[in-house]
């Protein structure tokens, strides 16, 4: 039972009282403990001159599942120079940033840990791919992980909604799916749109009918959000809205918020859904409208999906929108696929350019959203890795948010029309360390229901990042002095020192098992896998995620909104 004392660091822990004070943090058995100042410790690490924070949590990053592998297969040229043992340790030395666009599992785990992140969550797990997703995330070293399972364009849900089946039946279907796939949450991508695409629709507005099933995205959103609320799943419905990337899509986004009728929901990569149609190019920022709606609706949380200039790849379940974007592919190749008739997938490589009006505006819109939303607890820092840019750009993004002069320098480099007209140039706000800690740790932990992560009170998991307070925020957040995962030091000054296996977080909401006979009847006729083989058991989850630990996140049924 060894005890570790992190001595004399400035503890930035906005989830608990006294954030910003200088004090010691005690660690024993992988947990944070109260340690009397005079109590002996087996190891003392001097953290004078350092910030001590909880380990970072990325709540929306594509690190496992089918499309990640498709992106790797599509872009082997981006991985060629990053596979050597030298490269795995080389951080942050001049590695081509493109090497992190489609990193392998090992590089993913190492790079996150080298930046002080200790958990990452895959937002788009198709039920049929759940085993693969868990295996792949299990192969990512160090990080805790979990995934949100996708419903909303699957045949069964749409058919049952079209047939007017009782809500309870659909709720139990959601409950069964979460249990069977060992998911942490539920995601909907372009509600109904992936299915509508297969019926030759090329767009689907929130109140437009699916041409075959005659249901609307509004119905789907409300049904799923209500289901999660009744099941008591902590993470609200994770929504990739309609009309991603289309000028004027702020209307869809506001309609989406309206469709929820006050039910909780998380709108993801919201930057891609905050576009207006003003100005000579009929493409403008609708960040103000979006932020006004978010500030007014306490049931809504968001993550931004900031874009970063340079090479990346967009990987999405939204086949409808990815087909529309395919002609922008750079390099000129892409993949689109159906998955088990229940979901879709589109992978389009993309290079965001500073001198492109559209890309520059996207960059500015993301930053506007970060800086204008009042409540940092409802904004999560993401680039929707790799869609807006690789996660390794987070330190740069943090500096943009914390340093107004630096932000204005970058603003001067982008397309002049955007630089001249963007609201960004008038925003003086600089985010504080507490606010950054909320957006990267405490906030996502709370949104996911991870009670013992994202903060540093006694009893919390000892996932800790120690940053030396020197230089600009970018260099500080790039290379923490020490990183601990469950009390084990995994990185020291940018070098990986240990590679433990991370745990899986998932929910097990209660539901009526009577639903299984209906599901079996459907799968016996339409499924490609035996119904009995669909559900992943605890033991199997443990095995396929390399036994890094299984953490059941508690549900509170009864509909607490």
């Amino acid at each position: 039972m060894k005890t570790l004392r992190l001595r004399g660091g400035r503890v930035v822990d906005p989830a608990n009282p006294g954030s910003g004070t200088i004090r010691d943090i005690g660690v024993r058995d992988g947990r944070i403990v109260d340690l009397h100042p005079d109590a002996p410790a087996d190891e003392v690490i001097d953290c004078g001159g350092c910030l001590v924070m909880a380990g970072g949590i990325d709540l929306h990053t594509h690190i496992g599942g089918g499309k990640v592998n498709l992106a790797r297969l599509l872009l082997p040229e981006l991985q060629r120079d990053c596979c050597t043992p030298d490269a795995a340790q080389a951080w942050p030395e001049a590695l081509d940033p493109a090497a992190h666009v489609v990193p392998g599992t090992l590089l993913t785990g190492y790079r996150y840990a080298q930046m002080g992140y200790t958990s990452a969550f895959e937002p788009a797990m198709v039920p049929a791919n759940a085993r693969h997703a868990h295996m792949e995330m299990g192969d990512v070293p160090i990080l805790d992980h979990g995934a949100y399972v996708m419903l909303g364009s699957d045949e069964l849900l749409l058919r049952w909604m079209a047939e007017g089946k009782p809500f309870e039946q659909i709720r139990d279907y959601i409950g069964w799916t979460l249990n069977a796939t060992k998911a942490l949450g539920l995601k909907v991508v372009n509600p109904g749109g992936i299915s509508a695409f297969k019926f030759n629709q090329r767009k689907l507005d929130v109140d437009e009918h699916h041409s075959h099933w005659r249901v609307t995205p509004r119905d789907i959103l409300h049904t799923l959000a209500r289901g999660l609320t009744e099941l008591g799943v902590p993470h609200p419905l994770h929504i990739h809205g309609s009309n991603l990337g289309i000028p004027g899509n702020i209307e869809s986004t506001l309609a989406t918020i309206d469709a929820l009728e006050g039910l909780r929901a998380h709108l993801t990569h919201i930057q891609f859904h905050s576009y207006g149609t003003e100005g000579p190019k009929k493409f403008s920022s609708a960040a103000l409208q979006l932020v006004e709606a978010v500030n007014r609706h306490p049931n809504i949380s968001i993550d931004v999906g900031q874009i970063m200039f340079g090479q990346t790849v967009t990987a999405s379940g939204d086949t409808m929108r990815q087909l529309a974007n395919a002609h922008h592919a750079s390099p000129r190749k892409w993949v689109g696929a159906d998955i088990e008739c229940d979901a879709g997938c589109g992978v389009v490589p993309f290079r965001y350019k500073e001198q492109s009006y559209v890309n520059a505006l996207q960059w500015a819109i993301g930053l506007e959203i970060f800086l204008l939303v009042k409540d940092p607890w409802r904004v999560v820092l993401t680039t929707d890795h790799p869609n807006g840019g690789p996660f390794t750009s987070y330190p740069h993004l943090i500096r943009l948010l914390m340093d107004r002069d630096f932000r204005n320098e970058q603003l001067a480099r982008i397309h002049p029309d955007v630089a001249a007209n963007s609201a960004l140039k008038d925003i003086t706000r600089e985010l504080t360390l507490d606010e950054i800690a909320i957006m990267t740790r405490a906030g996502p932990a709370r949104l996911l229901g991870l009670a013992d992560r994202g903060h540093l009170a006694a009893g919390a998991a000892a996932d800790i990042a120690v940053y030396r307070e020197a230089g600009d925020p970018e260099s500080m957040f790039t290379t923490p002095e020490h990183v601990f995962k469950d009390g084990v030091r995994v990185a020291y000054k940018g070098r990986i020192t240990a590679s433990p296996v991370g745990g899986t977080h998932f929910v097990e909401p209660a539901f009526d098992r009577g639903i299984e006979k209906h599901l079996k009847a459907h799968h016996d006729v339409h499924g490609s896998v035996r119904f009995e083989h669909l559900a992943i058991s605890h033991d199997e989850l443990c095995e396929c995620s390399r036994c890094g630990g299984t953490h059941v996140v508690a549900c509170e049924p009864g509909g607490a909104v």
């Binding site: 297969l73 599509l74 872009l75 082997p76 040229e77 060629r80 050597t84 043992p85 030298d86 390099p331 000129r332 190749k333």
Partner: protein, 272 residues
């Protein structure tokens, strides 16, 4: 005066070794000890150059690096090389001369797959035969060979010149299937027979069949252009590669273009 570095393999290699870091220009300024300490990947382990090779240095007229012994498991030799001369005494592994930009590589034996893949400049000569995807694109990349000269004295495998877009590639023997598939530009000259589907998806570029004449596929068509001036220039540029390319000027070619399924601006020269 410069130095020539000789690396003689001590033992046959049990697994593949990536030798792409051993370039003539890089070793030219190093001592024997420094070269001996350079790291190499042997499977999943790191070893030193001195563990695998006997090293000797001699004076020479230019920068030179010479590999001796059975180098069939030595891959990536001369990758991205920019200058100097690199000689492999026998056979060599995959990816010899990929992405090379200048200088000269001479392989006395056979080479594996992807010889001269994505090469952009310089001269790569293979004394023996090459595997598949020579003068082609590296996996996933959009462009194949984009400059320089590749000479194959023996035969070539499948997909020779896939996505090639500039430079000259000459094969003295025969090639496998899908010669010049998806070719964008550049010149390929062939002395021997070719396999199935030559010119599949060829968009532009020139194929010269100096020896056996292939069957012209349905997706290629005759143009009856007057090619005499062009042919005189082309024949002169190919003559230095020796027989049968040195007698082309006297043989007036038929010209067909294709692949009509993909732009159809590629040309085949079929000298009588």
């Amino acid at each position: 005066m410069s130095q020539a570095c000789h690396l003689r393999l001590k033992h046959a290699l049990p697994v593949g070794v990536d030798a792409s870091t051993l370039l003539p220009e890089r070793l030219a300024t190093l001592s024997i000890d420094e070269i001996a300490r350079l790291p190499l990947e042997l499977g999943r382990d790191l070893v030193a150059v001195g563990d695998l090779f006997d090293i000797s240095l001699r004076e020479a007229d230019g920068v030179e690096l010479r590999f001796e012994g059975d180098c069939r498991k030595l891959h990536g030799v001369g990758r991205a090389m920019g200058e100097g001369r690199l000689v492999v005494d026998g056979p060599v592994g995959d990816q010899v001369g990929v992405e090379m930009r200048g200088g000269e590589i001479q392989v006395c034996g056979d080479a594996g797959d992807l010889a001269g893949g994505a090469m952009a400049g310089g001269r790569l000569e293979i004394g023996g035969s090459v595997g598949d995807f020579a003068a082609s694109t590296l996996p996933g990349a959009m462009d194949g060979m984009r400059g320089g000269v590749l000479i194959v004295r023996g035969d070539a495998g499948d997909r020779f010149g896939d996505r090639m877009r500039r430079g000259v590639a000459v094969v003295h023997g025969r090639t496998g299937d899908f010669l010049a598939s998806r070719m964008v530009a550049g010149t390929i000259a062939l002395a021997g027979e070719t396999g199935e589907h030559p010119g599949h998806g060829m968009r532009r570029g020139t194929l010269v069949f100096a020896g056996a004449q292939p069957r012209v596929p349905d997706t290629f068509s005759a143009t009856h252009h007057d090619t005499r001036v062009f042919w005189a220039l082309m024949a002169r540029s190919l003559a230095p590669f020796g027989a049968p390319f040195d007698g082309l000027a006297a043989r007036c070619p038929a010209r067909v273009v294709g692949d009509l399924g993909a732009d159809g601006k590629g040309e085949w020269m079929l000298p009588a």
